[in-house]
Symmetry: C2
Subunit: 763 residues, 2 copies
């Protein structure tokens, strides 16, 4: 039950030392960094801990726990307190069980030194205390605050599986001390300007457009000036002073230049600098840890042959099969050939250390058969006319011609659709695109063209088929005079056409590819933002719920006009019909917070003022805090992340980074670059390679390897982390074992990769 499928189907019993080595390799491959005991019992537990079923179960309980806020007062779907509390206790039990499981496979000292585990335990205890207090007060009908709900994201962050979100949080936390000084200076500058404003405008008896006193209270001024940094109240706030004297606008211009332009740039500089520093340290740490684990695995399996320690071929095979049970035997043979250079029947240390990287390299079966048409009617396909067509399609001008066609199509798209000429032109463009794809399929091998990784080819074809279907459907519907259906915008092919236009053009593919590479990491930011939103939403729901109510627009009671709260009489909040923006349940709270983040500028002041009216002036602090966290920290980290991704992409444009393992593969002549697959040079290439293999190998080996080639993932399809790790690994010497494990784990965040000026400065 507890063992992963990898050795369930093997007949021979596996030795525990092999399992131990396999665990080390899996650690190295997936960067799990879990130190653990060596008894067979512990290894069994370790595999069970890392099995996908237990991980999915943990995430399920985390989701349930977080979703409870939907059912608790103030609820979107109310459930009795008993039901939610039982669900919560179940979740807590699951978390506790997972923690005990983790403790069993971890040395005690390591377990108790890890703040993650302490955090989870403290949160479990606090949640239980809160549940008991709230439950007993509830039973005597006293309503209290469920404060522990704001702690729930702790489980999401602190379980070892959510490494990416934790890293984003660590990056946030590491940036805090540095940003604090800048923030204090920023506050001082704001306060100084507030005092100046008080002195300049306070005694003049100026009135705002709404007739309230203008700049007479230092706290109000500070709040208005803080909002001015976001330029949310930009012309309004300076108008009374501007009307009084033109020269006072200089005060506001200087304020905005200093506090909006300069200070926001300084914030970005500080955040980016920290982000870059800590990213590099994490990468160095991961690279060194990987090497350590592979060395540990080697030490478990090594035997002495001659003067050096090696791992025997049989052991190596078994290990590879445990670690990657789905690998084909031909694939295994190829990897062994790469690892055991001289075919001596054993793998030496340096080659063994590369196993984790080797397993990450994709191996593809190259079809060395000719184009199906060539096999079917070789004379026609090889005729001079056919060859001319193929040469034409492979030529650059072919691509350019279709770029021009796409541009013309783009211009047509913006014209009026009702014109019959244009509608015919659409059919023309569509047929041109179809001809293009058919020509490409004629020239390139179809299975290579629609290979799993040929994302763009798939995409192009899909778009054109979709456009074809949509156009035909549209035409059918229109000829049937069925205008009702044709009005539905989703069946229109025009937006598809434009997607097509944008993504067809190879000029843009580099930028688009970089943007797509950023995609997965955006999910990390999604997690980060979700955690921040969740905490703010829970707090907001406790503080503001029920203060503002939304009435159906058709409901004309006087209450509806003031959002059900008389304090909002004559406020801009009620006038702007903002009643829908409330904290009465989790969904509404998330909506408000999203609005504040994305369409920040006008909402902030209205919302802050509105909620200050229904509760207390201090409510403004909630909104300011949210702004500081989201705009100054998270948005800047996001920008830093995008900047870093582009800088790495730019620096790779110039220099080729090749790891030792790639050099090795190229030397053996079994590597294929991504680009070659696209360019149709493949067949020749494979031919050459094939002949090479034929020359110096036995016939059996040749059969096993024939058609199998390592694909070195193109640099275009890599994430920033992978690229940086690759850069770093290409710089540490193969025999360098780095600092000791204790040193790596106890390093302070700033001094882990100090020796390598090139890598350190490069990105």
């Amino acid at each position: 039950l507890g063992l992963p499928k990898c050795w369930d189907y093997r007949s021979e019993p596996l030795r525990p030392d092999l399992l131990l080595a396999a665990a080390y390799v899996l650690d190295a491959q997936y960067n799990r960094n879990v130190p653990f005991e060596t008894s067979p019992q512990a290894i069994r537990l370790y595999y069970f801990y890392n099995h996908w079923t237990t991980q999915v179960a943990t995430y399920f309980f985390i989701c349930v726990d977080l979703a409870l806020a939907l059912f608790e007062e103030p609820a979107l779907f109310p459930l009795p307190f008993l039901a939610t509390s039982i669900a919560e206790i179940l979740c807590l039990t699951a978390f506790f069980g997972r923690l005990i499981h983790f403790a069993k496979i971890t040395p005690q000292m390591v377990f108790w030194k890890d703040t993650k585990n302490i955090c989870i335990m403290v949160t479990i205890v606090l949640t239980l205390i809160d549940l008991i207090i709230y439950g007993s007060l509830e039973s005597i009908n006293v309503r209290s605050v469920r404060w522990s709900r704001a702690l729930r994201p702790v489980f999401l962050i602190n379980f070892p599986e959510s490494r990416q979100i934790r890293r984003a949080f660590r990056s946030l936390r590491n940036t805090l001390p540095d940003i604090l000084y800048v923030f204090l200076l920023f506050m001082f500058s704001m306060l100084m300007f507030s005092l100046m404003a008080l002195k300049l405008f306070g005694d003049r008896g100026l009135k705002t457009a709404e007739g309230s006193p203008y700049f007479e209270n230092i706290l109000d001024i500070a709040f208005e000036l803080y909002v001015l940094v976001t330029t949310a109240n930009s012309p309004d706030i300076m108008m009374p002073a501007y009307d009084f004297n033109w020269w006072y606008s200089l005060y506001f211009i200087i304020y905005i230049i200093i506090n909006t332009y300069i200070f926001m740039s300084v914030f970005l500089a500080v955040v980016y600098n920290n982000y870059r520093k800590h990213l590099k340290n994490e990468i160095c740490k991961l690279a060194y840890l990987k090497r350590h684990k592979m060395t540990a695995a080697f030490n478990v399996l090594k035997v002495k042959v001659g003067t050096e320690f090696v791992v025997e071929e049989a052991q190596w095979r078994q290990l590879a099969q445990v670690v990657a049970p789905d690998m084909s035997s031909a694939h295994l043979e190829l990897l062994l050939r790469i690892s055991d250079e001289g075919q001596k029947g054993h793998v030496d240390k340096m080659n063994f250390l590369r196993l984790a990287d080797l397993l990450n390299i994709q191996v593809v079966t190259i079809n060395i058969k000719r184009h199906p048409l060539e096999a079917w009617m070789p004379r026609v396909y090889q005729s001079s006319a056919s060859l001319l067509v193929q040469k034409m399609v492979r030529h650059r001008i072919f691509v350019w011609v279709f770029d021009v066609i796409i541009l013309i199509n783009a211009i047509f798209i913006t014209l009026d659709e009702k014109n019959p000429l244009i509608s015919y032109a659409e059919w023309l463009f569509l047929s041109l695109y179809i001809i293009e794809i058919l020509l490409k399929l004629y020239t390139y091998e179809p299975r290579a063209y629609f290979e799993r990784k040929q994302f763009w080819n798939w995409f192009d074809t899909l778009i054109i088929v979709a456009a074809l279907v949509a156009t035909v459907a549209n035409a059918t519907i229109q000829s049937g005079q069925c205008h009702q259906l044709s009005a539905s915008p989703l069946t229109s092919h025009l937006p598809f056409g434009l997607v097509c236009v944008t993504l067809f053009c190879p000029r843009f593919r580099v930028i688009v590819t970089t943007l797509i590479n950023i995609g997965p990491a955006m999910l990390t930011f999604g997690g980060l933002v979700f955690v921040v939103y969740y905490v703010f939403a829970i707090v907001g729901m406790e503080v503001f719920h029920g203060k503002v109510r939304f009435f159906d627009p058709n409901f004309t009671a006087p209450d509806a006009l003031v959002c059900g709260n008389p304090a909002l009489q004559r406020s801009a909040f009620a006038r702007g019909r903002y009643c829908k923006n409330n904290f009465n349940d989790l969904a509404s709270a998330f909506t408000v917070l999203t609005e504040l983040t994305v369409v920040w500028f006008l909402n902030f002041l209205l919302l802050a003022d509105g909620f200050a009216l229904v509760t207390h002036q201090a409510a403004k602090l909630y909104f300011i805090l949210f702004h500081i966290v989201v705009v100054i920290l998270i948005v800047n980290i996001f920008i830093a992340f995008v900047l870093e991704a582009f800088f790495v992409a730019y620096s790779l444009e110039k220099s080729e980074v090749e790891t030792a393992i790639e050099k090795k593969i190229q030397e053996l002549g079994v590597g294929i670059q991504e680009e070659e697959l696209q360019d149709g040079k493949l067949t020749d290439h494979v031919d050459t390679k094939d002949r090479g293999l034929h020359g110096d190998d036995g016939d059996d080996k040749r059969k096993a390897l024939k058609g199998l080639y390592c694909r070195i993932a193109s640099k275009k399809y890599r994430t920033v982390d992978a690229l940086l790790q690759r850069m770093f690994e290409s710089e540490i010497a193969p025999e360098d074992e780095g600092p000791s494990l204790d040193e790596i784990l106890n390093f302070s965040p700033s001094d882990i990769c100090p020796k390598n000026p090139n890598f350190k400065n490069s990105a």
Copy 2:
């Protein structure tokens, strides 16, 4: 007449080769990079060209030329066309003269290859043509367009003296190709969203808040979505769709995330990447050019002594006196001592090459006398009580105590001034600050404390004296019951107090110092922004002048309500009383453009719509173009500049960059670090140094050198350029002469410093 003052007062006649060498050294020192001929006549012209009087005259004519826009139709101060055209022709003559002067001192080939000169000539010719056409049409009373006025900033940019502005422009120009692709992609994404909007909302018959059709025309949609990127119309534009169906807000949220957050980050990434690349190339180029010029100067003066070429001491002295005529003889002696290590009577090549750097190093006369009080009453000053006071003042806790006092003062400042207790507290704080300064003056030598470079000491004292004067004045006025005067905010000392608070605190001084270092370069951006504004203002004045008029608010004619233009009836422009925002003269145009830049968000839409109403829809293009140039290019370059400045500051925090010359000075023991001057360790230090000098030198030399020390400018007070150049120079070997002059000048911008991975990546 034509010769600079440097050799006017020398009795001995100077040889032309010395003057030539001096010209090379001056070039190297001030980065003039003017190649020139070697005849005495040419040298004479060269010195005259670089004399301050001719430079000031050129700038004067540039200012006059630019200021002419104030006096020409539409004018702030109207002058007849004859007057302005005569002034303009005078300016053009001056520019032409300056150009001819430059041609005389430059080899013909170099002169004609320089686009700067071609630009100036073309502009002069175009301006003359325009003047003639306009003048002749004016004489027959036909009004035409003075289009050449928009070309006037060319003179400001292209004269060799405005190197900084030109560099900023070059940086802008180099960024353009890279940014173009991103911009096209951005436009495509916007167009795609526009089409989607057309399909989603176009047929629904939705109305905006003002009742006009909503999203029914592709061009209108594109404009609105472009404005949405600036979030200027953020909640308004989505409200009709949001009211129709809640889910449509997702469209706008996705749009803002993609086009505002991601694309703006990508713009920043592209601009920053280019800025960094070109900055480093310029620095490398400057460093290599400097070395080349110094080598040229050496080759002019070299004589063979033994096996190597050297420059004799007499020649070296004369050269130094020509280059830096104000240098004292003691200073000269010190520099010679540094250059002529073994005191062999000549300077070798490697030391000669450092002359330009040596001349840039500050030399200070250190007063090795004791504190005046010590000289006056040594027993009292050296008594144990006095020593205790001095130790106390030098202790860190002394600084901390005053930090706390400043913080308490800050809290008091925000309290009510009318309270007598607080008014007394102010006196208390003031006396505490005065005591602090007196204690410091007692401990540190007053002349060292108020030394020219001790900016912060000067500042502190000035602030406190100002606060003292203001408080005393305030008290006197208040005791005299003269409330009228006391209301004036400028006599109040409170703002001074807060400046004081902010700048006193040493924690912030590092950030503040970096910000101050950025200051001078801000002027470059000022120049850049001025040029862009000027061109846009001239174009705007031609297109929009007189379309919108401002009437005095008390003037109640119906015209006043629509800014004198019936087309503005019921427009938001007129309702918002924006009539003052017009292009009727240069000052108004500059005001409008400043508003658009700084308080961008609400004005943009109103202004663009308003001016489109009074002229043509195409007027919106003017405003969009301005936004692209200012927000996408200039603001991003500004942010890139601030980021770079902070990154260089951060990277210097960790590593000490020392040029060869500084090592040399430290070896000789005549260097003083900036920090030592502030810490009061100075006297001991100087004592040690003094004894050192005494030991190994003759008495004469000692006298000349006594009290003279090189100050190595602290890294804190350097600009980014200087720091980067220093980093690069510390990395090229002293004997490396770099590529040849032709290679340097003809290098493409991207391949000038490719060999040095460390420098290349570091900043």
